[in-house]
């Protein structure tokens, strides 16, 4: 599924617009754990906003970062994501709810 389709289905807001194919999902806020556990081409749900999330996404071939619970990425995070072409989306909903909606939409 395309990240842009997920955005529409889950009513997410683009912070950094870019499109990728996503085949899996993952949720965690501990960056080192994400690096070790996430599958390539995943949508990653987190509340972290630091620039390091973009580096993790790039390293682990993550398709999109969804920042949940109403948090917004730091300015240098947005800048890095634009440069690295990694989509960042945000939502006021919590990680649990977004994970459920993603799962329902067919991302397993």
């Amino acid at each position: 599924m395309k990240v842009s389709q997920i955005k529409e289905k889950l009513n997410l807001e683009y912070v950094v617009q870019s499109d990728n194919e996503a085949v899996s999902g993952y949720a965690s806020d501990l960056l080192s754990v994400v690096m070790g556990k996430v599958k390539p081409q995943s949508v990653w749900l987190t509340v972290q906003t630091h620039k390091n999330i973009v580096a993790v996404a790039k390293m682990a071939d993550i398709s999109a970062i969804v920042i949940c619970d109403g948090f917004s990425p730091d300015d240098d995070t947005v800048e890095a994501a634009q440069k690295e072409n990694i989509p960042i989306l945000k939502t006021d909903k919590g990680v649990f709810e977004i994970a459920g909606m993603l799962y329902e939409s067919g991302i397993r």
Partner: protein, 183 residues
């Protein structure tokens, strides 16, 4: 990283890669805990030092993607819990990384399995001597890999038998810090 011991292992391995022959590690636990890793490696020039905190920078040429998260992740974790982070480096002299954490902050990382970290460092990197000091309140222990090499009569601390002796010794010393007074 799930705890400080993993960060310490990671940063000390940077020292080894920077050709250090001596690395000092200090942990001082309290309400504000402080940590220091100081090496006599090749150090960094101003430009490299600036880049060291950028996650999109690495000196590892074998990496396909130019990402280096060791120091950036540590700095993030330290600042998340109201700590201070400082790195200083002099080309040709060495590098020191120091940080503090407010241990009452709910997100502050625990020290973790420091025995394992010290054991790995002391037994895996034979060309480098490690000095480890751990303070907690009034207790203090200090372990020097140079002294262990002299006492055991070998430089090869990675020899399986020797390595186990080193492991037990580190554990014994750490017990002094962690345990209540023996009854």
């Amino acid at each position: 990283m799930r705890d400080m011991s993993l960060h310490i292992l990671d940063i000390a391995e940077n020292s080894v890669r920077a050709q250090a022959t001596k690395v000092d590690i200090l942990i001082d636990e309290g309400e504000i805990s402080s940590f220091m890793i100081k090496d006599n490696g090749k150090g960094m020039d101003e430009e490299t030092l600036k880049n060291a905190l950028n996650p999109f920078y690495t000196t590892k040429t074998e990496r396909k993607k130019k990402i280096g998260l060791g120091l950036p992740l540590l700095k993030q974790n330290v600042e998340l819990c109201d700590g201070k982070f400082r790195i200083e480096s002099v080309p040709g002299k060495g590098t020191s990384v120091k940080w503090t954490v407010n241990t009452s902050h709910i997100d502050s990382l625990p020290v973790g399995n420091i025995e394992e970290t010290v054991w790995i460092l002391m037994t895996m990197y034979e060309n480098c001597d490690f000095s480890f000091t751990h303070r907690a309140g009034k207790k203090e222990i200090s372990i020097e890999s140079r002294e262990l090499k002299e006492a055991l009569g070998t430089d090869e601390l990675n020899d399986p038998k020797v390595s186990m002796i080193v492991k037990d010794y580190i554990k014994e010393q750490e017990n002094i810090i962690n345990n209540q007074e023996a009854l």
